[in-house]
Symmetry: C2
Subunit: 353 residues, 2 copies
């Protein structure tokens, strides 16, 4: 019986230590081929100044011997890495998962690898993530800052890490950034609700320190004002970002006296949680109450009307911005990319008219 998972001696160790894996190095290739390390290096990296025949021979033998360059030594020597860091709240949120996938795909086209760190939005973890990234010498980082987390950016700057941001770098601070047009998305959502006859409209925000929340709120408010009604304070509900929080929100809603006829949720997760809680308490969506979400997560069974955020494109664009920066192709001014959102109408909103 053959057991896997034991260490294999690929090359015998200088000290002959048993069971310790020693990988093939460029010196082994040099020895084998009879060329110098520098020649091997040049050949393997397709650098000019190597005789074609030599290059071919070296590459062939290296391939035969299954040589894989040690990226660490390489990076240390070149003083760069081929990895970019991603700092997100939670990869478990399909929204971020999609973004990370997009970044990874773009990165791998550049032969880069990604390092993903989750922070759960906890400051301490965010700070730590930046330190780890720095220690890992990532070439740059893509970070999701939902609030005015300018100190996170200061930190990134302190370590000299190029970065691109999801979210806005408000006011007099500016950085390359990618975001979706939340304002417009929210505006459209509210406008749509109005057109369906809804007048009492609520918003479950995701914490007002978040620019996304702020802009969505502004969008809703503006749309309603435009139609001559006002967003009532009591219909701005306390924050929720996750399914669980949405669920709790839904529970509370049930006991509410003067319920709005429609609610815009901070995101689809919150919408899911709310719907679950409402249905458990005998309220039907959209018959008893209408709901609109944000993100357009793929995984829904429920026909949720929602504002679609182009996650994949966001990830792609962010990666492109970052690579421009890493490659020194970025122009002086920070670039801010704003991507369109779109209201996807399904069946979670009741027509009252």
């Amino acid at each position: 019986m053959l057991f896997y998972g034991f260490c294999v001696i690929l090359k015998s160790n200088r000290f002959g230590k048993r069971g310790i894996t020693v990988r093939l190095t460029i010196s082994d290739i040099a020895k084998k081929t009879g060329y110098a390390k520098s020649t091997v290096s040049a050949a393997l990296n397709n650098k000019p100044g190597v005789k074609p025949k030599t290059r071919e021979e070296i590459q062939r033998i290296a391939a035969e011997m299954n040589y894989i360059p040690n990226e660490f030594a390489r990076n240390l020597s070149m003083q760069t890495t081929n990895t970019i860091g991603i700092i997100v709240r939670d990869i478990t949120n399909p929204f971020y998962a999609k973004i990370c996938r997009a970044i990874e795909n773009t990165a791998s086209e550049h032969a880069y690898t990604t390092l993903i760190l989750n922070t759960d939005g906890i400051r301490e973890k965010e700070l730590n993530a930046i330190r780890v990234m720095s220690g890992q010498m990532v070439s740059g980082v893509i970070i999701d800052i939902s609030g005015k987390d300018t100190d996170l950016l200061m930190e990134l700057n302190k370590f000299g890490l190029p970065f691109v941001v999801f979210g806005t770098t408000a006011g007099e601070l500016a950085a390359d950034s990618v975001e979706a047009d939340d304002y417009n998305g929210a505006y459209q959502a509210a406008e749509y609700l109005y057109s369906c006859g809804h007048r009492k409209i609520g918003f479950v925000h995701g914490g007002m320190e978040s620019v996304y929340s702020q802009r969505r709120l502004r969008g809703i408010r503006k749309a309603l004002e435009h139609n001559g009604i006002e967003l009532e304070e009591k219909y701005i509900f306390y924050k929720a970002k996750t399914i669980q929080e949405g669920y709790l929100m839904g529970k509370k809603l049930v006991n509410f006296e003067d319920l709005p006829t429609a609610i815009i949720a901070y995101n689809d997760l919150v919408a899911v949680g709310m719907i679950r809680a409402l249905e458990e308490n005998g309220r039907q969506v959209p018959d008893d109450i209408s709901i609109i979400g944000f993100d357009d997560i793929e995984l829904m069974t429920f026909p949720l009307t929602t504002v679609q955020i182009p996650e994949y494109e966001m990830g792609e664009k962010a990666a492109e911005l970052l690579f421009d920066k890493i490659m020194g192709k970025a122009s002086g001014r920070p670039r801010e990319i704003l991507l369109d959102t779109e209201l996807v109408v399904r069946k979670s909103v009741k027509r009252l008219l």
Copy 2:
């Protein structure tokens, strides 16, 4: 106006190159404190043999100067890394996202970092992932092998990478592995359907090269046999693993002549896709057809009855096994961990009795 994202000179370069970030090194700390590099290293790493006062002083100054060790140099020197690799099909699948989160959490307790690579189940990408992992000198990898991908394990072995596997290492090959009890889960699901009066039961598998599919099929078959009925060949439907594939499956199902009264889907994603397609074509779940899923993804609005797989625990256990191996604590024999599944009854199955 202050622009972020430009490089900052943390320390002036030997060549005085402008705009190039040069990070602080251990030599800088040595110079500043007046101690030798080795002393600084020992102090910073809390190694014994350093005078407490010295240690304290060095640590203080290093912290003040915001020194962060270069992990690459560290790893190169120590011939290990503090990262473990994860090779999964697709992080966008919440099932894998959960697993990755669990692994990351466990890893970070050991001050390890994770490198996640997605393969979409494509052989070429899997092979490449292993090469990348090897080049990145990961301490070990956790890999999801759904089929009898023994050559992937051979590859891993070839590079001397310790690994732990999700899935089974069938037959005479064996490795540390973690898996859920698919067989039993499927058995329970089918048993439950039978108890609800279903006799015509179908299974949408995820590709019969997958051991999961095989075992689930066996579980279903056994449960039915136990009740004196047979799983009909025509009710074993072609493979589907994603929402899209489930959706297509659902579309086909609509035109089916002799539909089963209940279907067990390969996973929740497939169930979601099927339900969506069915409902679009006027069939209600569970009124017209009952459906059971696998995984118990959190994100469902639909009250899907499903076989819960303990993803988080799976990730945790896998990480623990791997760390044991990395730390040399593993005993000789491969360990296979089998985790219980549980049927979560919700409302996607109709009682016919």
